[in-house]
Structures are given as structure tokens and as C-alpha cells.
């Protein structure tokens, strides 16, 4: 699917060169940033918001905030990890404004801290075979996640989809680890019920990879 502005993502040899370009607001750097991170972050925003329409607003706001703060990014965590945090933070602020999600020191989430137990999801598998296998599953899972009550959905997305540690997910939401675990177990129980009879058909671990 060619686009008029299709670009070579390897224009920048490494993250520091990309960061330099971003600090100069180079068009190519901004384009590379989006091409590389936007798809996964858009999905994350949709999962957190439970609403695909709002996801683009969250993504836009998050990228603008990221570029505004790019000078203060020190690279202690990877750029991807930092962007994930900003998207999560932006989504949580919107949800909190919408009604009430328990968050504590929401700006702290943006802090450019060490990577801790955060899994690198930005470089996840992109095996096309597995994508075909997962097409129907993806729709079923997406719908089931969307149906979860908001507090359970967010706990599930942060912990099980984003791969945050229990400690980090609880800290992000400003709740105790026990409370995070309860939300997670409730979410998983609800998904077990919702996906009953279907998850049996999910491919076993490792299927589809080379």
C-alpha cells in the first residue's frame, strides 16, 4: 500500500540521530516517528479508551506532547517506552476527565525513568503468517476487551497487553498492587466467560513463528 510520502525508515541510523532530527522539527524525523510508532500506539490508545474514534485524538495529543517535551527526553528509557507512557498518560487523563479513573500524580507517568520491567512491545512480532491466524481472534478479543468495564479494561491492557509489571501498572493507576491484581483477575474472569468456547481454538504458543 504505497503512499505518496512512503519513506525509508532507515534514514536515521539510530535513535539519537532521530532525536536530533525531532529536536530540529525535521519533517523526515516527524514522519519516521509516526511511521514507526503510530500503529502500535494507536491500537494501545483504542484499547485504553475502548473507543476507536477517540483513539486518534489521544494519539494526536500524545505525539504533540512528546514533541513538545523532546528536549527533556534523556534516553534513560527507550523512545518507544517513553511514547507508550505518554499515550497511557494522555488516555488516562481523558478518561479521568470523562468520569473518574483512579490516577495519582499523572505527570509522574511521563517521567523519563528507567525501563524497569516494561517489556519492549514496540518491536513486537510482525509475522504475517501469525497475522492471518489471528485475524478473527483479534476481532473477538478486541470486542471482548472493549466490553470490559473501564477500570478492569485498563488494568488488563496495562498488565497483560502492554506487559507492564504489577508494580508499574499499579503505580500508573495510583492503586495498590492488590487492587490491581483484583481488577486483573476480574478482567480475566470476564474474558474467560466472554470468550468461552472460542479460546480453545486459539493457536498454541509459538505457532506461526518461523
Amino acid at each position: 500500500m504505497e503512499k505518496p510520502w512512503d519513506i525509508d525508515l532507515q534514514v536515521y541510523d539510530d535513535e539519537s540521530e532521530l532525536l536530533h532530527g525531532l529536536r530540529q522539527r525535521e519533517r523526515m524525523a516527524c514522519t519516521c516517528l509516526l511511521k514507526y510508532y503510530a500503529p502500535r500506539l494507536l491500537r494501545l490508545a483504542g484499547q485504553l479508551m475502548g473507543d476507536a474514534d477517540e483513539a486518534e485524538d489521544v494519539l494526536q495529543e500524545a505525539f504533540i506532547r512528546a514533541c513538545d517535551r523532546i528536549d527533556s527526553f534523556r534516553g534513560e528509557s527507550g523512545l518507544g517506552t517513553w511514547l507508550h507512557r505518554i499515550v497511557i498518560n494522555t488516555a488516562l487523563m481523558r478518561l479521568r476527565a470523562r468520569k473518574s479513573v483512579t490516577t495519582d500524580d499523572i505527570e509522574g507517568v511521563i517521567a523519563d525513568g528507567p525501563e524497569s520491567n516494561w517489556q519492549s512491545v514496540s518491536s513486537g512480532a510482525r509475522d504475517p503468517g501469525q497475522q492471518v491466524l489471528g485475524a478473527e481472534l483479534f476481532d473477538r478479543m478486541s470486542a471482548a476487551i472493549e466490553r470490559l468495564p473501564e477500570s478492569l479494561r485498563i488494568a488488563f491492557v496495562l498488565r497483560d497487553i502492554e506487559g507492564m509489571s504489577t508494580h508499574d501498572a499499579a503505580a500508573t493507576l495510583g492503586i495498590s498492587e492488590s487492587a490491581l491484581k483484583v481488577r486483573l483477575h476480574r478482567a480475566r474472569l470476564a474474558l474467560r466467560k466472554d470468550l468461552a468456547g472460542y479460546v480453545d481454538a486459539a493457536p498454541p504458543k509459538g505457532t506461526g513463528s518461523q
Partner: protein
């Protein structure tokens, strides 16, 4: 632990549901949470159901995300690269 039927038979566990219901959502007793986690490990129904769900989540995570629309991306790139610090002349 009876009463479940048809497709839900393999995944529903009334014992787990009762345990989770006992947990206070905002301020749960850590011991009760520990009981939930122990149950998930020793109950064959839950063990299998959790394993299936975990496999489904792994598969779900591996699906390549869709790209945003080209118009969205282009408009956002425009905003990002034209935005300057307030004190910086254009």
C-alpha cells in the same frame, strides 16, 4: 461446583467467582488475593482456562496493528514539524 453447562463448562469456576467476589475492589485483603492466585494454580479448570486465555492474549498481541489513515498521519506530521517554541522566530 455444578450447574454450568455447554460451552462454558470448561472455563467457568464457581469457586473462583466466589473468591473474587469476596475481594474488595478498592482495598482488597492481600491474603484473599493470595487465595485467588493459589486457586488459579491448583484448580484444573482455572489452570486450563487461564492457559487458554494467555495463549489467546499472546496471539492477540502478535497481530500487526493497522496503520492510521494517511490523511491523519500527514496532518499530524504537518502539526509536529511546523510547531516551534514560542520564543523562536519562524
Amino acid at each position: 461446583m455444578t450447574g454450568e453447562k455447554s460451552v462454558t463448562q470448561k472455563t467457568r469456576c464457581s469457586e473462583l467467582e466466589a473468591l473474587i467476589q469476596q475481594c474488595d475492589g478498592d482495598n482488597p485483603d492481600p491474603e484473599l488475593v493470595e487465595q485467588v492466585e493459589q486457586h488459579l494454580e491448583i484448580c484444573p479448570v482455572c489452570h486450563e482456562a487461564e492457559d487458554q486465555l494467555t495463549r489467546a492474549v499472546v496471539a492477540y498481541r502478535s497481530v500487526t496493528p493497522a496503520e492510521p489513515s494517511a490523511s491523519f498521519e500527514e496532518a499530524l506530521v504537518d502539526r509536529l514539524c511546523h510547531k516551534r517554541d514560542p520564543e523562536e522566530p519562524r
